[in-house]
């Protein structure tokens, strides 16, 4: 059964009535002007104290009786045939309980796994690796894109080319668009390989009992790991249990069962004992994924009034031995333009493989496109923010530009005279976009316990964004309870199915299932309460943990009293995410403003301040939402100024796989950040919550790049914006 409801949807810039058909079991979607009591209240994350005091049990902390420790041997060569692996000496070492050879015939990057061992201590496991004899026949390798694209280049894959077939998107006619332009700009922009550097490295603890496997795993997707392990070991999925109570970051690199998870399970089966295998930091940089590099040739043109007439991207990018190096997303999305063309080619290198990383392709594309927009604005003599406004297709972003420009004092700062000394200030602005609209599949269970508490059980995991907190908030809101009565139980495949935490879809996909489950539970509880209050269950309301009848508000019952009437141990109800409604909007806008200070004699860039304006539907918890924005910006500072996987051309190995040499921003590198949210009631689900994780990272690097160019009066078109490049742009080095 379904019902038709008319919703008031939109944002401060305008609302409209939208009619949607929703299933009967489904609560009416939250609308514009909804009055909340829990949702929208800044709430410290539920597990903050546990994390801050070191008591939150991460995979790294799992200790089982008799547990062994695994370690992986990796190839020091970027390309070699493996003629043999001799595990005998390693196997004989006292304390070694299992060893496996996984070399295959060819290694294609320095860091590729060759063998693994499990031993009674991590130290013995590492010693055992040193005893493994591998007979490598090194082969020619390619470590850089220009090298790999030469006709005589060594091939990464013997059959085929180092350059994959292009992926082309086109509308209109770019040549004609450039022809009619009053100003055009063309340049090449490059971005390096960035690694994820999750604070908790990849890894798992695997334990077998018969043909049942339990795995504690540092993963973004417990069900994905479960299913991968079930396929790999030919087990029914219910024989595999995956637990991720706490997760120290993933950023796209922890979908599914990677080699380290499978090795842990294989070694555990061989040894007949649980095995813990957490990767060392270097392995994390070498072998668990990265953001691909890009070299983007951009051609862009605009009419005298600034209207874009053409945008073209021709790019090569490398995902090492992997692919997916495209960056066209922003080109196809951020600005109105009738003539658009993108052409993307992946180039294979003998280097660690790519994986999804926070807004795949977008920070790269946004950096190049937004720098090009700035360079075009200078040619047109139009203020850079104004040029973006004139081509902006999103009414939400129009408001965001306004809010951001005011908070950032764009007009004053863009007219401020430059200092005479070596320290130059600059400002930049960049547009963001995303589609954190969620996906179907998640189911949740809401359970009222006899002691008056409510648990929400759902097989999601918290990638660090505050999932436990917002799930509890949504359930408390729907149940009319104070937040302290509700806890979220997550991170276990014994709970109902949920999706991986990626694609900014955890909040938008889980909260509707949670709200529906809470609504179902509420209905059951009201039926329990009805005879006690002598009222019809449809007439009962619950607010602040007190149930009363609309007609007779002086007769009431507390939630705790009601729960004592539960006939069994608990009362449970399920809910699911139903396919999205048409709603108001399926896209997110956003914009970020950056201020920098550049020492023109040393080339050193300091990011001084940021203003970020974003929309993500209903903001459940402004506090954890703001944390996500901070994180997206700090990560953008790293990509802008410091981070690069550096591969030596002589050896084909990464020279900086350490926290020392792979430079990440620290607290002194972090700017002052002001965050604003534009609430949008979009009605695409019963909560209308959208994801934030990626939208907030898309524009940060670009805004910094634009600000640096503004400060020094010359663009630095290659990331990271290191002193050598800044000085070169200034003609100093």
């Amino acid at each position: 059964m379904a019902r038709r409801v008319t919703l008031t949807l939109g944002f401060a810039g305008g609302t409209r009535e939208v009619a949607v058909v929703i299933p009967d079991a489904e609560p009416t979607p939250w609308q514009w002007g909804e009055k909340f009591s829990v949702v929208g209240v800044p709430t410290p994350r539920a597990d903050g104290p546990l994390k801050a005091t070191g008591r939150a049990p991460y995979t790294y902390d799992v200790q089982l009786p008799g547990m062994l420790h695994g370690a992986i041997l990796r190839s020091p060569y970027p390309h070699a045939r493996v003629r043999g692996v001799d595990l005998s000496a390693a196997r004989k070492l006292d304390g070694v309980r299992a060893a496996l050879d996984r070399s295959g015939a060819t290694v294609r990057f320095a860091g590729q796994e060759v063998a693994a061992v499990a031993a009674t201590s991590p130290e013995i496991a590492r010693d055992a690796l040193a005893l493994i004899r591998v007979d490598y026949a090194p082969m020619p390798f390619v470590a850089a894109m220009d090298e790999a694209m030469r006709p005589d280049a060594a091939l990464v894959f013997e059959r085929g080319s180092n350059v994959a077939a292009p992926i082309v998107n086109a509308v209109g006619n770019v040549a004609a668009g450039l022809e009619t332009a009053a100003a055009t700009h063309e340049a090449v922009y490059t971005t390096p390989v960035q690694t994820h550097v999750s604070l908790e490295t990849h890894g798992a603890v695997a334990s077998w009992r018969g043909d049942a496997l339990t795995v504690w795993c540092s993963t973004q997707g417990i069900f994905g790991v479960r299913d991968d392990l079930a396929v790999h070991f030919s087990l029914p999925p219910e024989n595999v249990r995956v637990i991720t109570a706490y997760l120290g970051g993933g950023f796209g690199s922890k979908f599914g069962a990677g080699h380290e998870v499978i090795f842990a399970a294989e070694l555990a089966r061989m040894a007949g004992a649980p095995v813990k295998l957490m990767l060392p930091r270097a392995d994390e940089h070498l072998a668990t994924g990265n953001r691909p590099s890009s070299s983007q040739r951009v051609r862009i043109g605009a009419a005298r009034d600034g209207a874009l007439t053409a945008i073209e991207l021709v790019q090569h990018g490398s995902g090492g031995i992997g692919g997916g190096s495209g960056s066209s997303g922003p080109y196809l999305t951020l600005y109105r333009c009738a003539n658009l063309r993108t052409e993307e080619r992946n180039v294979y290198l003998n280097a660690g493989p790519s994986s999804a990383m926070r807004a795949p392709g977008w920070p790269q594309g946004c950096f190049a496109l937004e720098l090009a927009i700035d360079e075009l604005a200078r040619k047109l003599g139009i203020d850079r923010l104004e040029l973006r406004r004139r081509n902006n297709p999103s009414p939400v972003r129009a408001l965001e530009f306004e809010i951001g420009a005011r908070a950032f004092r764009w007009n004053d700062r863009s007219r401020a005279p430059q200092s005479r000394g070596p320290l130059k200030r600059g400002i930049g602005v960049a547009s963001a976009a995303w589609h954190g609209i969620g996906a179907s599949g998640p189911q949740a269970q809401c359970v009222a316990l006899r002691d008056g508490r409510v648990q929400v059980r759902i097989g999601t995991q918290d990638i660090g964004t505050g999932t436990r907190t917002i799930i509890a908030m949504v359930a408390a809101e729907e149940l009319g309870l104070p937040l302290d009565r509700v806890t979220a139980e997550i991170g276990d495949t014994r709970y109902l199915f949920s999706l991986p935490s990626g694609g900014s879809l955890t909040a938008p996909s889980t909260t509707p299932a949670v709200r529906q489950a809470a609504a179902h539970l509420k209905r059951k509880l009201m039926r329990l309460a009805a005879p006690l209050l002598g009222a019809d269950s449809d007439d009962l309301i619950i607010r602040g943990g007190v149930i009363s009848a609309r007609a007779a508000p002086n007769r009431s019952l507390t939630f705790a009293e009601l729960c004592r009437r539960i006939p069994g141990d608990s009362l449970a109800a399920d809910g699911e995410h139903v396919p999205n409604y048409a709603g108001y909007s399926l896209t997110q806008a956003g914009c970020q403003f950056a201020g920098v200070e550049v020492d023109c004699e040393t080339g050193i860039v300091r990011v001084t301040d940021f203003v970020a304006v974003h929309d993500a539907g209903v903001i459940v918890d402004p506090l954890t939402a703001r944390s996500q924005v901070n994180g997206g910006i700090i990560m953008g500072v790293g990509f802008a100024l410091f981070e690069e996987r550096r591969i030596d051309p002589q050896l084909g190995v990464m020279v900086n796989p350490t926290m020392d040499d792979y430079k990440l921003p620290g607290i002194l590198d972090t700017p002052e950040i002001q965050v604003f949210f534009v609430e949008v009631a979009n009605g695409i689900t019963n909560t209308g919550v959208l994801g934030l994780g990626e939208a907030v990272h898309v524009a940060a690097t670009a805004a910094i790049g634009c600000a640096v160019a503004d400060a020094i009066g010359a663009p630095v078109r290659d990331l990271p914006l290191t002193p050598d490049r800044v000085l070169a742009a200034l003609g100093q080095a």
Partner: protein
């Protein structure tokens, strides 16, 4: 114009993909139940569950375009 490379909302299983082909969105399903593998994606980073790497047991790169019936190591989905 905005292409939506993030979550295709309709299932379009034009090709049959190897059951062992993995990429971020292969862990999601369209409303029709098909895995979300988008051959037109320029940002999908593929890997093979058998090798846990972006090449197959046949030592060739894996992706949505090539991991179909024609490949010697192809495994059909249930």
């Amino acid at each position: 114009m905005a292409r939506e490379p993030i979550i295709p909302t309709s299932a379009a299983p034009a090709a049959q993909f190897c059951a062992l082909l993995r990429t971020k969105f292969s862990y999601f399903r369209a409303p029709g139940g098909a895995r979300l593998i988008d051959p037109a994606s320029a940002t999908a980073c593929y890997s093979c569950l058998r090798t846990q790497r972006p090449f197959g047991p046949d030592d060739r790169p894996v992706d949505a375009a090539s991991c179909g019936l024609a490949r010697s190591c192809f495994v059909a989905e249930d």
